[in-house]
């Protein structure tokens, strides 16, 4: 079975053989993943190199903690890759970008109006979270199509704030 794993902008094509060996490019590794606590903690041996990792599945992604660093990994097998690709095209009309809340918080201000032209990096929404004001900026140039939140509203992580395009 072939998988694509994307972590920090790098994509690894990894094949898992029926006897659970792992092939990356022309290298083949003997691997052994053991659950330690029937929870999130695993011991991983790759060619006898020992790693302790914590893995949690969250919103279709894998969060992996290795040596103090927390990584987010998107794993797709060949079949699922095709499906999600098709779905993504359908969900977002061409050129439209929904800017979502990167964390839960309180909307402190919305310095843009519908119809306004914005450039990459312009502040769209100011979110107050953990005593800090966080500026949510435009990921691309465009026109503000919809503003979906108003000041003093509480938002959840991932909630749509502004639609560009």
């Amino acid at each position: 079975m072939k998988y694509a794993a994307a972590v920090k902008g790098q994509t690894f094509t990894i094949e898992v053989t029926p006897d659970e060996k792992v092939c990356i490019g022309d290298r083949t590794h003997t691997v052994d993943l053991q659950s330690i606590d029937a929870g999130l903690l695993y011991s991983l041996l790759i060619d006898h190199n020992s790693y302790e990792v914590l893995i949690e599945e969250q919103e279709g992604e894998y969060w992996v903690l290795l040596l103090g660093e927390l990584y987010t990994v998107q794993v797709e097998d060949d079949l699922r890759r095709q499906i999600t690709h098709r779905r993504r095209v359908r969900a977002e009309p061409l050129g439209r970008v929904t800017v979502k809340a990167p964390m839960p918080g309180l909307v402190a201000a919305v310095p843009v109006r519908e119809g306004q032209e914005v450039s990459t990096g312009d502040v769209l929404v100011i979110l107050e979270s953990m005593k800090m004001e966080n500026e949510v900026r435009a990921p691309c140039d465009g026109r503000v199509n919809r503003v979906r939140v108003s000041p003093s509203e509480t938002v959840e992580k991932g909630q749509a704030l502004v639609v560009l395009g």
């Binding site: 690894f12 792992v22 914590l54 949690e56 894998y62 839960p104 979270s129 966080n134």
Partner: protein
């Protein structure tokens, strides 16, 4: 003597104070907002009372609710921790009026120290060295004139300031007017007081602060210095004690000056006098912090003095247990503030449930934590979730120990600044002690490159799990007791029981 203490705070500092109370045999009362019902401080205290909804201004900042709980529960003292109401003269006065002991200085001292410009005025008159600048209420025109007299670069600061709000650094004279207006607006919005003062910028300055203890019988001592030069956006990130640049002679001079500052402020209880130290060894009074500091543990580690217990003893009217000559310093201590924020994504706060947690232990390691496995970090409060403190015989040993402890730290579910700490601790300039307050902002940047081997290991781990989930070959069996526990944890618990 006190019998029952209410802790008007949350998180790691509430737990720290509750522990001190417990060691002294005092009954404890916690207060909590709606989202903190399951927080560690509520679980730890003998009694706990709700004080309102999640936003701090409706709960932890509600003086009336807290005083009411203190009376209802029969507490005789209130410890404010740091932040929230800790330095509000109005809160200390409300405690006094309600016949409760406020564990901290008097309302009069708090009011004086809260006006940073007035504090400068008083300290200047007392012969305490201050940075060249202004300390009177001045119009924008007069401030501009004063700025030209002092010379650039300079800092504009808010008299009622704190946390970097209303603060601006001006390097070019054409920026002066705009910066003054912006600072005044920000100060008015944040503190309801737009009074500004100016300070010349001291280049390559180190932040050196002295811990003070003062009883109600006129005894004041200092516990030596802490260095907090590693700052991001005016917030300290790593602290250490002692400082690499403070000689015994300088420690004596600065310590005596800190005691003089405390005496001028009629200070009682524990407090901190902040100084800037320039590269020529000249030091200047910055301000007084009238509370227990976040970084107090580093002083505790090298002096052996339990500062929180001393606070409670002082508040109950007892004499200081130490004379200045009793205070000896041994070894080196470091503290890393563990914050729930993503160092790779502009330090954006990170919230959510912590499904898995392992805190470091072992020789010389101390963790002051406000979280536990299963706890949910909410967006309502400060992002400080724990403090990792280590002690070593030398600075070198402390550094290596901190690196080891950071590597052992496992927090799942939220991003933390642990990778940021790891990179600072690997920086040769930090290791060599060549630091000043601008180090993080002007000379340090987070390395983005990851070890390619680590990335591959991470990818393999995720793929193997996804593969097994797809093949349904991974049978997940929970433990009988339903708790996720590692064998290490189980073994440690077993050992603790049968030792």
């Amino acid at each position: 003597m006190l019998k029952k203490v209410l802790v008007a705070n949350r998180g790691e500092i509430a737990v720290r104070v509750l522990r001190a109370c417990r060691e002294l045999g005092l009954t404890t009362v916690a207060v909590y907002s709606d989202v903190d019902r399951n927080a560690l401080h509520v679980r730890y205290a003998d009694e706990a009372y709700p004080i309102g909804p999640a936003p701090a201004r409706e709960s932890y900042l509600r003086i009336d609710h807290i005083i009411e709980v203190a009376k209802r529960s029969g507490a005789d003292a209130i410890h404010p921790g740091y932040g929230f109401l800790a330095e509000q003269a109005g809160f200390a006065r409300a405690c006094r009026n309600a016949g409760l002991i406020f564990v901290g200085p008097s309302p009069e001292t708090l009011a004086m120290a809260g006006d940073k410009a007035a504090a400068r005025r008083i300290m200047r008159a007392a012969g305490v060295p201050i940075i060249e600048g202004t300390d009177e209420e001045l119009s924008d025109d007069d401030l501009v004139a004063a700025a030209h007299r002092i010379g650039l670069p300079l800092k504009i600061k808010a008299a009622a300031g704190g946390g970097g709000k209303g603060m601006r650094t001006v390097r070019l004279s054409q920026d002066l007017n705009a910066a003054l207006q912006a600072a005044r607006r920000e100060a008015e919005a944040a503190f309801g007081d737009g009074m500004l003062y100016l300070e010349r910028v001291v280049e390559e300055a180190r932040h050196i602060e002295f811990q003070i203890l003062a009883d109600h019988h006129g005894h004041i001592i200092h516990l030596g210095e802490r260095e907090g030069s590693i700052q991001r956006r005016h917030q300290k990130v790593i602290e250490e004690a002692p400082s690499r640049v403070v000689t015994p002679k300088l420690r004596r001079e600065m310590g005596e000056m800190a005691v003089r500052v405390a005496r001028m402020a009629n200070y009682t209880n524990a407090g901190t006098v902040e100084f800037l130290l320039d590269r020529d060894g000249n030091f200047y009074f910055l301000e007084m912090n009238c509370r227990l500091q976040v970084e107090h543990p580093v002083t505790e580690m090298i002096t052996g003095v339990d500062i929180v217990k001393e606070q409670l003893r002082i508040a109950s009217g007892r004499r200081l247990r130490y004379r200045q000559e009793d205070i000896q310093w041994r070894g080196w201590a470091l503290e890393c503030r563990i914050l729930a924020e993503d160092p790779y994504n502009d330090f954006l706060p990170s919230t959510g449930r912590i499904p898995w947690l392992h805190e470091p232990t072992g020789p010389g390691v101390r963790v002051e934590s406000g979280i536990y496995e299963g706890f949910v970090i909410s967006p309502y409060y400060d992002s400080l979730i724990a403090k990792l403190v280590v002690w070593g015989e030398t600075r070198g040993e402390a550094l290596l120990r901190m690196r080891r402890a950071l590597e052992e730290y496992r927090v799942m579910g939220v991003h933390t600044n642990i990778p940021f700490h790891q990179q600072i601790l690997n920086d040769t300039r930090f290791i060599g002690g060549q630091i000043d307050t601008t180090f993080l902002e002007s000379r340090f940047s987070m390395a983005e490159e990851d070890d390619p081997n680590d990335l591959e290991v991470v990818a393999i781990a995720a793929v193997l799990l996804a593969h097994r989930r797809g093949q349904r070959t991974l049978t997940m069996t929970r433990l009988q007791n339903g708790l996720s526990q590692s064998n290490w944890k189980r073994a440690a618990r077993w050992e603790a029981m049968y030792r």
